[in-house]
Symmetry: none
Subunit: 225 residues, 2 copies
């Protein structure tokens, strides 16, 4: 369903949380310290971040600030029990919710559901992605290339948006299918190929030699500004 980044230095805790989130159909990535969290988030945007406040290398509040600098992604904080200061700090930093330790994994899963329900229907794909030649407006679902508007279908737009939200990052066909169609999609991943073809037809000057939506042979596709 959604991509979730879990930042938690205690492996046991992380593992339990992961299991519960996967059971809800989410795509979970785990990192064990703050520095890795920031790097991972830069590499691949998550739909939601679960963030322990006490972390090695770079603590939770710093991570939160760094993430908030570039994204409105929902953040759920894990804080020590009843530490009022932690709580206030978390809220101030822009966390969307927080859970006090010790917590039950079920509670975390429930909060995740609640936060996602609150944040995904309205927000979500509404960021504006701007590059030299291409502008992609998530709210309008419109794309312009060198000022000229281009009409894309739903799938085409979703694929482009997904690729462009992480420029130069390579996404496999399977990953794209899972992200846009959902894990329960029965069909073939080759359908992505066709959509990419049609997408190139619309946005590339020379579709046979694509400049923006590149093929990485044996791996997948990536967007280059």
């Amino acid at each position: 369903m959604s991509k979730i980044l879990v930042v938690e230095d205690e492996p046991m805790v992380a593992e339990v949380v992961e299991r519960y989130l996967r059971r809800d159909g989410h795509d979970v990535t785990i990192v064990f310290d703050g520095q890795s969290a920031v790097e991972q988030f830069a590499r691949e945007r998550a739909d939601l971040v679960i963030l322990d406040l006490m972390l090695p290398r770079l603590d939770g509040s710093a991570v939160c600030r760094k993430i908030r600098a570039t994204s409105d992604v929902p953040i759920i904080m894990l804080t020590a029990r009843g530490d009022e200061r932690d709580r206030l700090q978390g809220l101030e930093l822009g966390a969307d919710d927080y859970v006090t330790k010790p917590f039950s994994p079920r509670e975390v899963a429930a909060r995740v559901r609640a936060v996602l329900r609150r944040t995904t229907p309205v927000e979500g794909r509404e960021r504006m992605l701007e590059f030299d030649r291409i502008q992609i407006d998530g709210a309008r679902r419109s794309v312009t290339i060198e000022g000229r508007p281009v009409a894309l279908t739903v799938r085409e737009f979703d694929i482009l948006y997904h690729l462009a939200s992480n420029p130069s990052h390579v996404f496999s066909r399977d990953h794209i299918v899972a992200s846009l169609w959902g894990d329960d999609f029965v069909g073939d991943a080759s359908t992505v190929t066709v959509h990419v073809r049609r997408l190139r037809e619309k946005i590339e000057a020379d579709p046979a030699r694509p400049r923006h939506v590149r093929t990485v042979w044996g791996v997948g596709y990536c967007f280059e500004p």
Copy 2:
């Protein structure tokens, strides 16, 4: 948009809530105890009150009673977590909604939007939207196209106003239904289609090729000036 009185003795919490409400365009006043709340409300009526139950000098329930004695202003209660008695007491006292601590500021902002939508069906949306060809008067609920007045029904106007208040932004049918009919509307979202049809019949030069109320295939509708 609306004037909101926040009654919360914890300055940090109050500040965070304030920031989120201001972001939604509201005019926020903060007081830190119950006595001041009553005085402030008497001095200047608010459109909505956010009221902590635990307060110095005069507790939340007393404040609620005093306010209710003179006004039907919507009140959102902040109560301790899971304290069922607080909740019941709050509802009994005439609160319109309540949020349990610890809460996320986004949730509070969402509740505020929901309550305002519920309680101020006509007010609040009194902005004048002016474009080259179309003028939409939220206060008078009138529309003119190239100087000519056009008579719209309630639904038609609401849809047009909602779309036009965010030009070029795409709204899904479900979103429109939720915003105008309320979250608890049971009916079909396709009813929006019909209203849009009738709306176009009135405001578009060529309803078959709409210029202002555009269809974004697979997504929803958007207004273009």
